[in-house]
């Protein structure tokens, strides 16, 4: 039975299962997850020893009872979970609680692996439902190293059971998990998602875990759990180096930091739990010191809002033809590129708005979130008025996000705030309502208060409410600039909330907009603006932010400011010196992206047709570097640098065409895929880069692609050329199978294959039409198929 003791008292968990079983004779590599079926008496004896040692909560032997881990055992989750809970229950008796133990699935989630978030959720749902039905008192998600996987498990338990749920993750001494997650990101994300207690388990002994536990206690208001290893293992023997008394003594700093729930992981045994019980006897929980800072994050990038933080505005179709076209064409690579530019320019958070007529926002937003999080570290602010899109986006977001936006309209608040609360996001409140934008600062502050009250009563903490005081266009409503600044000052000073402004709105209709934008930015920052939404690729805007950070004292000893301007003049000189004699062809061959883009824009302005530019200048330049590459005079990085410059040229052409609505340059479409079982996709990505920069359009199916998916895509899209890549001998059969399926289609495409282990001989034997040794040869094949 589970009492409420864990909420504010000291509670004792159990210790290791695996290492104790090994001591009792289970061989390493034996299947401990099946013990409830194969040797329940052995399992019962271990549980009983923990109960006798004083454990108040014992973990049922379900750590590995997930469908992927049971796959090769011939047993199901529905068999193993109830059996394991029943054994634990028998040992627990009336006074000890039984936890459903949920461990990692053993497959890496996207983007590191190929297991989707949705699939992982389904696996966890299956365990959670089985555990609740079998009568578990609570669920414990443990030994997680990927916050995304922990989130999938937590949502699965909360949405499908009413069990309290604890989550513990494993950290290295560096303060990060294997996947790079920080303690603060973990704590604030999981608390936001509704975990009941959080903590650290495994990986280190209590001595090395102590500073991380301290940090964890400062980043959450939830009860904190410590379940460390018995020190570190000896490589020669596999034995851990810390005895029970030393282990218990080393947890004293954790108690002082505020940890209240204690247990042991690898290398511990009932003796450790008994020692721990003795050391904790008569102790009271220590006072906690929670840091109530405003915060958003991804796992790797915590973002504390304790200074000016720049929100990048460019992922937004409003007024941008090229972006609109990308949305309609489902060109996620383009959106990622816009994100990358803003991250590299120094943004702290990226606003993401993909709403546009003809776009299914609820379907697209989660795809964009996943795409961005595959290569950009920054936290995201999901910008939509569609609750379904917001929920879908927040669900797959890895970390703690922000939502843009709600306003003072009760109907909007009622609809959006519960979603914000459920996913633990921060929320931007616009100071307007059904009556429109109030004309006075006072009225806007009144709306801000209403939004804050609504959020608080929904359970959203104060620091997660950000207020947008609204920038109006100064050329239309001149007196409003001062009202906005007044509202900023009042919200900051009287309510103490984060303040957001979309700065660029100020200057519509005026010449030299950047000057007006920058001046208003500086004024607003002076009035208390903390979260300017700007275009971070505008250097002068970011320069102003850098200067304000010096003047406010945020940039200690002006270090960031000095570093920012250290090499700036040298760069400008180098570019202009090189610019004089450079041709577009040279720029592409030498991989000079900026110059190539500039020269291409100049050529288009001078009236050169896009197609002529591509066929007459770009392709010959790529051919030149390609020939050098074949002769061993240039190497792969140089070939790809040239492709990168060609990409910049194509971007200029696409932007020009999007603006004029002309015919786009397309030389043929093909499908690329890394075959099933293979997760190494850099080779395929190299081929994609080079082909796209010859003007071919690629449908990139990614890696670990089932043969049927390739065949279905080819049939649906009427594809004439397919490129398949495999890196390892073990995945060649999947390549062969894919080729067979493709050749059996009514309109079989031409198939080219490549990759480290593929040889011309293999290619022929597998029935491929072409073998491409490298990216360069794939272009030759494409020319044969689509014409020169």
């Amino acid at each position: 039975m589970l009492t409420d003791a864990w909420k504010n008292d000291i509670v004792l968990l159990d210790g290791a299962m695996g290492t104790v079983l090994q001591q009792k004779g289970l061989p390493p590599g034996g299947k401990p997850e099946l013990l409830a079926l194969t040797d329940p008496a052995l399992l019962l004896s271990v549980h009983r020893e923990y109960v006798a040692a004083g454990s108040q909560i014992i973990y049922a032997n379900t750590f590995g009872a997930s469908a992927p881990k049971l796959a090769r055992t011939g047993h199901t989750v529905e068999e193993v979970v109830p059996a394991a809970i029943a054994v634990a229950r028998k040992a627990a008796g009336p006074n000890v609680a039984v936890a459903l133990d949920i461990g990692p699935l053993g497959e890496l989630l996207e983007p590191m692996g190929t297991l989707t978030f949705e699939r992982a959720y389904e696996y966890f749902r299956q365990i959670a439902v089985a555990g609740a039905a079998a009568g578990a008192d609570l669920a414990v998600i443990e030994t997680m190293t990927d916050l995304y996987e922990a989130k999938a498990a937590l949502l699965a338990v909360k949405e499908n059971t009413s069990l309290p749920v604890f989550v513990t993750m494993s950290f290295e001494e560096s303060g990060r998990t294997f996947t790079g997650c920080t303690v603060a990101s973990m704590a604030r994300t999981l608390e936001g998602l509704g975990a009941d207690a959080i903590g650290l388990n495994c990986s280190l002994g209590p001595d090395l875990l102590a500073p991380l536990l301290q940090e964890l206690c400062e980043n959450t208001r939830l009860p904190v759990i410590a379940k460390p290893n018995a020190g570190l293992p000896d490589p020669a023997t596999g034995l851990y180096d810390m005895g029970p008394e030393a282990f218990a003594a080393a947890l004293a700093p954790a108690l002082d930091a505020g940890v209240t729930i204690f247990g042991g992981c690898c290398g511990t045994s009932p003796a450790y739990i008994a020692a721990l019980g003795k050391a904790l006897a008569g102790k009271r929980p220590a006072a906690r010191h929670y840091d109530a800072v405003s915060f958003v994050c991804t796992p790797t990038t915590p973002c504390r809002l304790d200074g000016v933080r720049v929100i990048g505005e460019r992922i937004n179709p409003t007024g941008k033809k090229r972006f609109q076209q990308a949305l309609l064409e489902h060109d996620l690579d383009y959106i990622l590129d816009v994100a990358v530019q803003q991250e590299d320019a120094g943004a702290d958070i990226l606003d993401v708005n993909v709403g546009y007529p003809g776009v299914d926002e609820a379907a697209l937003l989660p795809q964009v979130v996943k795409k961005l999080q595959s290569a950009v570290g920054l936290p995201l602010q999901l910008d939509s008025s569609d609750p379904a899109a917001l929920e879908a986006g927040l669900r797959v977001y890895n970390g703690k996000a922000a939502v843009n936006s709600v306003n003072g309209d009760p109907a909007v608040l009622e609809c959006i705030l519960p979603i914000v609360k459920k996913y633990g996001a921060a929320v931007v409140g616009l100071t307007l309502d059904k009556g429109g934008v109030p004309r006075t600062a006072q009225e806007r502050v009144a709306i801000a208060r209403r939004i804050l009250d609504a959020a608080l009563s929904c359970g959203i903490p104060r620091q997660d409410v950000w207020i947008d005081c609204l920038t109006l266009t100064v050329s239309a409503q001149q007196e409003q600039a001062a009202e906005t600044l007044r509202a900023v000052r009042t919200v900051r000073e009287e309510l103490g909330l984060q303040v957001v402004l979309g700065v660029s709105n100020i200057s519509f209709g005026l010449p030299d907009r950047q000057l007006v934008n920058r001046t208003f930015l500086v004024q607003a920052l002076g009035a208390g603006l903390t979260l300017p939404i700007i275009d971070p690729t505008r250097r002068e805007m970011m320069d102003a932010v850098a200067a304000v950070r010096v003047l406010s004292g945020e940039d200690r000893d002006s270090r960031a400011y000095i570093a920012r301007f250290a090499d700036a003049p040298a760069q400008t000189a180098a570019t202009s010196a090189a610019a004089d004699s450079l041709t577009l062809e040279d720029a592409v061959v030498r991989g000079l992206r900026t110059d190539a883009a500039r020269l291409a824009a100049a050529a288009l302005n001078a009236g050169e047709a896009p197609l002529a530019l591509v066929e007459g200048r770009l392709i010959p330049a790529l051919d030149k570097i390609g020939e050098d590459y074949e002769r061993g005079k240039a190497f792969l990085p140089q070939l790809l640098s040239a492709a990168g410059a060609a990409q910049a040229v194509f971007e200029v052409i696409k932007t020009a065409i999007a603006q004029t609505g002309g015919e786009s340059v397309k030389r043929g479409r093909l499908v690329l895929a890394t075959v099933q079982g293979d997760i190494h996709d850099i080779g395929k990505n190299i081929v994609k880069t080079v082909l796209e920069n010859y003007g071919y359009e690629t449908i990139d199916l990614g890696r670990d692609v089932p043969p049927q998916i390739v065949a279905d895509t080819v049939q649906r899209e009427h594809i004439r050329l397919v490129g398949l890549s495999a890196l390892m001998t073990t995945t060649l059969p999947a390549m062969e199978q894919t080729i067979r399926l493709l050749h059996a289609l009514p309109e079989p495409p031409v198939v080219m294959v490549g990759g480290a282990v593929v040889t011309p001989e293999y290619a022929r034997r597998m029935g491929a039409d072409y073998y491409a040794k490298d990216a360069r040869q794939s272009v030759d094949v494409a020319r044969k198929v689509f014409g020169p």
């Binding site: 990927d146 294997f178 996947t179 570290g377 390892m728 073990t730």
Partner: protein, 224 residues
């Protein structure tokens, strides 16, 4: 050089990139830049454990590990050894994150980073080999060999990772295709004996890629 003292071999990274001549040193400089970023950003992780060597029906048995090493290579390598170390080394998921970020920005830089990652994980294994040698003075080590070398099947990777608890201790997973994820991960075996051990593994005679190797086409060997 990283804080852990591991320095990756720039020449090896250049070989992975297929760079055969670099008279002006431009490629070497580009590789050095990425290598430097990599060793600053990453701490490779490793784990190893020693097991007694025994002979089983289907190969060399590492007692208490659940690992059997089938085939003639392992038999030959461990013939004089009473112990063997199983080891696993990885650059971890953070390398994959860096590589994805680089690919979204500049493929040229990404392929250099990829080559540096391969060289770094090798360097880490070399470092681990030295650590084992210094920890057991008076013992002689065989060459390091890995699943996929000679007739030691790639499948052996699964059992080695299980024996080392690599998923929990390193964050390394073996997929059903026997590939490891994160990709820059290596498992290997090193025998320990009381007598000096001859070099047996390095070189084209033992390499399964010898038939299609571009380094060999140039008349060289990666073991040079």
């Amino acid at each position: 050089m990283g804080e852990n003292g591991i320095k990756l071999d720039i020449g090896e990274a250049l070989r992975y990139l297929g760079v055969k001549e670099d008279p002006e040193g431009t490629m070497a400089r580009a590789v050095e830049t990425e290598a430097d970023k990599l060793v600053r950003a990453l701490r490779p992780r490793y784990v190893y454990r020693l097991f007694p060597v025994g002979q089983g029906r289907s190969g060399v048995v590492l007692q208490g590990s659940g690992v059997t090493l089938p085939g003639s290579l392992a038999g030959r390598m461990l013939a004089q050894c009473d112990q063997a170390a199983l080891l696993a080394c990885t650059l971890g998921a953070r390398f994959e994150t860096m590589l994805r970020a680089a690919q979204a920005r500049d493929m040229a830089r990404a392929v250099i980073l990829d080559a540096c990652g391969s060289a770094l994980v090798e360097a880490c294994c070399d470092g681990l080999e030295r650590e084992i040698a210094s920890r057991y003075p008076g013992r002689y080590l065989t060459d390091r060999f890995s699943p996929g070398y000679g007739d030691l099947p790639l499948e052996t990777q699964d059992a080695i990772c299980t024996a080392l608890d690599a998923e929990r201790r390193l964050g390394v997973q073996v997929r059903s295709s026997h590939l490891m994820n994160p990709s820059k991960s290596v498992t290997a075996v090193i025998g320990l004996a009381d007598a000096p051990q001859p070099a047996r593994v390095r070189g084209c005679a033992y390499c399964s890629l010898a038939g299609s190797c571009s380094i060999r086409e140039g008349g060289k060997s990666c073991a040079d």
